[in-house]
């Protein structure tokens, strides 16, 4: 990745963060914290990694993405809109009556959504089905899934990980947004999920742990996935992230899990993003 490419990604992510804040504030609800922690992964995935076509969102041989932590829908909607799946102006109608942007992703409402999610633990199972299905159909595609670390408490996740390893789904790339917080507090206090690397390895996955806000490390993690694809094991990317990343008063604050910023708070946050934007541009 060149310096310029990295700069572009950083600017793209700032735009996404602004979308997340504006859309959830306009909705008066939603999940900014876990959307902001997942932003950099999604920015990279949709700009550099995944093979999808906004003009043909149902193309058979496209790669698939499943947002198993479906509450980060505002981040996914932002990246899909900015890649041309639907107008960016529509993001402001998130969660409103008659809008196709549901509170959690819905396959039958929104272009570019490959699976309806929101009930935690379920998306990864569907991703396993897609990865297995692509083999049955002889398609050479990749399936990406993003989970949360709070979601690791769902038993279904581990049923699915066992399935992925058992059926040698090397075409499955599972990312975990390890922001360390869930609704009721620190994940380590509510229901500890660590050591995630050892748990996934014990189930038969190839695991890499990265800083989920560093584009070089994200790029490296996907290289690791493509290298692993020569073998038979699914790949897991554990991303250490910061909940509420990019907004000083939201970072690492559990209260911003499922609460939208009030209009004045939103403006304050966007002013911070403006500074970040200028810093990236070096002006």
């Amino acid at each position: 990745m060149t310096h310029e490419e990295k700069k572009e990604l950083e600017l793209f992510a700032v735009d996404m963060r602004e979308d997340i804040l504006r859309s959830t504030t306009a909705a008066g609800s939603g999940h900014p914290g876990g959307s902001l922690s997942a932003t950099d992964y999604l920015a990279y995935l949709y700009n550099k990694e995944i093979n999808v076509d906004p003009k043909n969102p149902k193309k058979t041989d496209r790669d698939r993405f499943v947002l198993s932590k479906g509450h980060a829908a505002p981040a996914l909607y932002s990246v899909l809109a900015r890649k041309g799946f639907f107008p960016v102006e529509d993001l402001i109608n998130l969660r409103k009556k008659n809008c196709y942007l549901q509170g959690h992703p819905s396959i039958n409402h929104t272009p570019g959504i490959d699976m309806s999610t929101g009930s935690l633990g379920q998306g990864i199972s569907a991703a396993c089905g897609m990865a297995k299905g692509s083999k049955v159909l002889g398609l050479n595609i990749n399936v990406y899934a993003l989970l949360g670390d709070g979601e690791m408490a769902e038993g279904e996740v581990w049923e699915a990980v066992a399935f992925a390893a058992h059926y040698k789904l090397e075409n499955l790339c599972i990312a975990v947004d390890v922001n360390g917080l869930q609704i009721d507090g620190k994940t380590s206090d509510v229901m500890n999920s660590e050591p995630l690397d050892k748990r996934f390895e014990a189930f038969g996955c190839k695991v890499i742990r990265i800083n989920g806000h560093n584009f070089d490390e994200i790029e490296n993690a996907f290289k690791f996935f493509h290298e692993n694809k020569k073998g038979t094991q699914p790949t897991v990317i554990l991303m250490n992230t910061i909940k509420g990343k990019g907004v000083s008063f939201m970072e690492n604050e559990v209260g911003w899990h499922g609460k939208a910023a009030k209009p004045a708070e939103c403006e304050k946050a966007i002013a911070e993003l403006e500074i970040a934007r200028k810093n990236i541009l070096g002006c």
Binding site: T60, R64, V66, S106, I107, N108, D114, M115, S116, G118, S119, G121, Q122, G123, I124, S125, A126, A127, C128, G129, M130, A131, K132, G133, S134, V136, L137, L139, G155, E156, E159, A160, A162, F163, H166, Y167
Partner: protein, 313 residues
């Protein structure tokens, strides 16, 4: 009907899956370590590359099936009814029902006739649970012939379906000329004093009950309701208008199954007295299937007695 051939509808399911698997390469079959019992293993034996044992992990199995369906494949998912409908209910609701995916949930060992395994395995709640999911088809075949046709019908249908098959071998009631249609009931015996609406393997018992009632001067119509949802409302209303009283018979709790579906239709369209025969707010217990069917009032004699009292009072 003692001389009639007996076949378990789960065997009909397994055989039909193999038949369909030969003509449609998009069919994939999943099971959760019960492939020998559900008969999905028959498909697995012939098409090992399209059969996925998911282990004892039903919630994931439903989700995997959902993912396979998004790829354009046609997954048939099997395990016992308790673990097909009850345990992964929320996965079916959110990962299959809400996205309206083409997943066929084909459960065996439904109802009280599971027998000696006892209440933990006697699933009498599946119709109720599955009925609540928007646009989910809910079906239960009365015999081998209907079961085979039902499997072929859901294969052609694009959307989520639930079918309950039985463990026990039961009489083959229909002949080869029978034509099953999704959402259509069938008048198997005509009558004018009362209509007995039955679903599943209790149908032959209902027919025998009608014979007993006939000998007592009561003319009972018997309707086979293979599809519980969408219910054949027209046929139910017609029966209410022409017979005036309705009895429903099902191997299911009286809450939320065929009986309440019939009550719902009638109370809004043509209210008549309805007697629901089913499991009445209790769990089952270990015993032979026949003993259980008798205990819970699902045999011909019981059905005839209950209907006679209902008609006379």
């Amino acid at each position: 009907m003692a001389d009639v051939k007996k076949i378990a509808t789960r065997d009909s399911y397994g055989a039909t899956l193999v038949e369909l698997g030969r003509i449609d390469k998009n069919i994939v079959v999943l099971d959760a370590d019960l492939a020998g019992s559900t008969k999905s293993g028959m498909f697995g034996k012939e098409f090992p590359d399209r059969f996925f044992n998911c282990g004892i992990a039903e919630q994931n199995m439903i989700g995997v099936a959902a993912g396979l369906a998004t790829m354009g494949l046609i997954p048939f998912v099997s395990t016992f009814a308790m673990f097909a409908a009850c345990r992964p209910y929320e996965q079916i609701r959110n990962s299959v029902g809400y996205p309206h995916l083409n997943v066929k949930i084909c459960a065996s060992h439904g109802g009280i006739s599971v027998g000696a395994d006892g209440a933990s395995h006697q699933c009498c709640e599946d119709f109720a649970l599955m009925r609540t999911i928007p646009k989910m088809l809910v079906m239960c075949p009365s015999d081998d012939i209907e079961a085979r046709q039902m499997v072929k019908a859901v294969h052609k249908y694009d959307g989520p379906c639930y079918i309950r098959f039985a463990r026990s071998a039961t009489p083959v009631y229909h002949d080869e000329n029978y034509k099953f249609e999704i959402g259509k009931g069938e008048v198997v015996v005509d009558g004018a004093d009362v209509a007995i609406i039955a679903t599943g393997i209790v149908l032959p018992e209902a027919v025998k009950a009608a014979e007993i009632l006939n000998s007592k001067g009561i003319s009972a119509r018997v309707i086979n309701m293979g599809t519980i949802k969408p219910l054949d409302e027209e046929l139910v209303i017609k029966a209410a208008k022409e017979c005036g009283k309705i009895v429903t018979v099902e191997e299911h709790t009286i809450f939320g199954g065929l009986g309440e579906a019939v009550c719902g239709v009638l109370s809004e369209n043509f209210p008549v007295p309805v007697k629901r025969i089913g499991i009445n707010d209790v769990f089952g217990f270990s015993a032979d299937a026949d003993e259980l069917m008798k205990h819970f009032g699902l045999c011909a004699d019981n059905i005839a007695d209950t209907t006679e009292n209902f008609v006379k009072n």
